[in-house]
Assembly symmetry: C2
Homo-oligomer: 355 residues x 2
């Protein structure tokens, strides 16, 4: 058992007197509890500023937004980089393997501590979407509406495979020191960087990469015939890898990817049937997928929608046409903004919240 556990969270907007306007935002693999405003550490804009703020779908004038750093994370919530009080040393690999369920239980502890009984909504993309689905499965009575975006009810073999490559890259780095790098004053920079590079390709689409980079060269007229970054796409990926190392803990990456691999709602809650998972679900669900997302393809969203429909749960579904790939949920996607706005307005009216 892991104890004590610190849960780092951030809120935006004001909780109304009835405590009925709270929205839980669940973050993705490498996200954190700062979806809006300037990040206090990196100085960059929040990762979901596109949809948060006055007049936007997650309107801070209307809603009280809560975002919790996931268990196992590295932005304040207890994770493998933190000191184990029992030993006085970083947990490292003595940290217990965690699940998406554990993350959601963590979030709900924060919701409890804020005195909120029922969340108006839970929203998230990718691993955030997995948490949304888990929350609906485990706490449907306490969730009025839910918006799982670019996600699936289980992790596929291909997705497990890509995660395994990333983990092997980290663990192959001698500076990882069997997970004890913090104690030994090293950092598995190159391994973590390679892991991030691989993952980053899967977040984009072939079309997006081709449109953005194609075969364009990096600061040169002709190829140099060598192993430097001749192509812009190489230079871009290297940058993605290296900058990631500065903001993320390698062991957190291992634990969180593992939690995603283990995610399988059917086995956890449905005894092998996805419909069974959602039986009796009263939560209004809005499923969103993207045409060019090959990591969490529309077919998997459709399977969720079928399951929800088969138990007569209130569900709507939109597949958004875009060439931006999986990362589309974080980007400027006017059609997504429009869909979210409509669904949230409808749910708010049904909940008796002012428009």
């Amino acid at each position: 058992m892991l104890a004590p556990v610190t849960l780092a969270y951030q809120t935006y907007g004001t909780l109304n007197a009835e405590k009925s306007n709270a929205i839980l935002i669940c973050h993705a693999l490498t996200g954190d509890q700062f979806p809006a405003e300037t990040h206090p550490i990196t100085g960059k804009p929040g990762w979901w500023e596109t949809i948060i703020g006055p007049g936007k779908p997650l309107d801070t004038d209307r809603f009280f937004l809560i975002c919790v750093n996931v268990l196992g994370g590295c932005m304040g919530t207890t994770g493998p980089a933190d000191i184990n009080p029992a030993t006085g040393q970083p947990y490292g690999l003595s940290f217990p393997v965690i699940t998406i369920g554990d993350m959601v239980r963590g979030c709900m502890r924060v919701v409890d501590a804020l005195g909120i009984d029922t969340l108006f909504s839970v929203i998230g993309g990718s691993m955030g979407g997995m948490q949304v689905l888990e929350a609906v499965a485990a706490y449907s009575d306490r969730i009025f509406s839910a918006i799982p975006i670019a996600t699936a009810a289980y992790h596929t073999a291909q997705n497990i495979a890509f995660h395994e490559v990333g983990r092997q890259a980290i663990m192959a780095d001698p500076e990882w020191r069997d997970g004890n790098y913090l104690l030994q004053g090293t950092l598995p920079r190159r391994g973590l960087s390679v892991a991030r590079m691989t993952a980053h390709i899967t977040y984009l689409s072939e079309q997006a990469l081709q449109r953005k980079f194609g075969r364009s060269l990096q600061d040169r007229e002709k190829v140099k015939f060598g192993f430097d970054a001749d192509f812009q796409v190489e230079s871009y990926l290297r940058h993605q890898g290296l900058s990631f190392v500065d903001r993320f803990d390698a062991n957190s990456y291992l634990y969180i990817t593992r939690a995603m691999d283990y995610f399988d709602l059917e086995t956890s809650y449905g005894n092998g049937s996805l419909a069974e998972v959602f039986k009796g679900c009263k939560t209004r669900v809005c499923v969103v997928s993207f045409t060019s997302d090959w990591l969490f393809p529309t077919s998997e969203s459709r399977a969720m929608v079928h399951a929800l429909n088969s138990v007569a749960a209130p569900v709507s579904f939109v597949e958004i046409e875009t060439d931006k790939g999986h990362d589309a949920f974080l980007l400027d996607e006017p059609e997504m903004f429009h869909i979210l706005q409509g669904f949230i307005d409808g749910a708010a009216a049904a909940r008796g919240l002012p428009q």
Copy 2:
């Protein structure tokens, strides 16, 4: 300039008196000159035994097959693992960066040495297909027919990106020793293994991985909650990575992936127009792609076919329905066998070869 160069090749069947029945087989990234019969080193079956042999499309009773280990390779042809006679040490990174064009020039030296003026056909998949296209562009007069399979006229940004991840994994391994591992008695096993694991995922399709492995566990009833290979797909990938290290040279991997990245027929031969590349092409071309190949998708084959059509070159095109992904060209694909047989028989008749 690289000299001397050794070219290791293998032949099957008998060259006829007119020297008109020779087929050049071009191998893929990690292939070699042993597409048929038992491999003299690994003891495994040839990598293209599915289509080579009496009664098969590449019928050894009818044709004289030639397969050359590519320049930069590690199965006998001069590559970075070989001794540079000028220094008495392995070339390592002093080996010049090579191109697909260099590989094809190497193959044609072997064809010349065998006294063959015109090849009846050139065939290959993936990087082998790139060589086929390069051969058609550079030596159309000497090639009666050509079969590029699961390939493209240039390497896309996404493909360059995956290759770059693999190279970074190798170069991040301290045992790589800046390319001097042979001299220093080390081997970048873990880096090369991670590179192979990443690449291997791209050779399959999501459907094939899901069908083959799904979320099946490896020798256990329940997940163990750890970083061992819980899932079969992890265990499979690790095996793919580790067994690759025993048969392939890490620096060869760097050079050959780079050659693929640099491949861009339009720039090399067409002054920016793919149609220009094939202007005046007399070679009969049969382009083959696979529906689930996301590394070299059908759209790229179609672009080649458009270009060939636009200059009235004799071209046929088949997209084969399969869920096996890019690797389908190496596997049991009866529809592909049927297509190859038909095209080869037709070309043989046109060439006046006995059926």
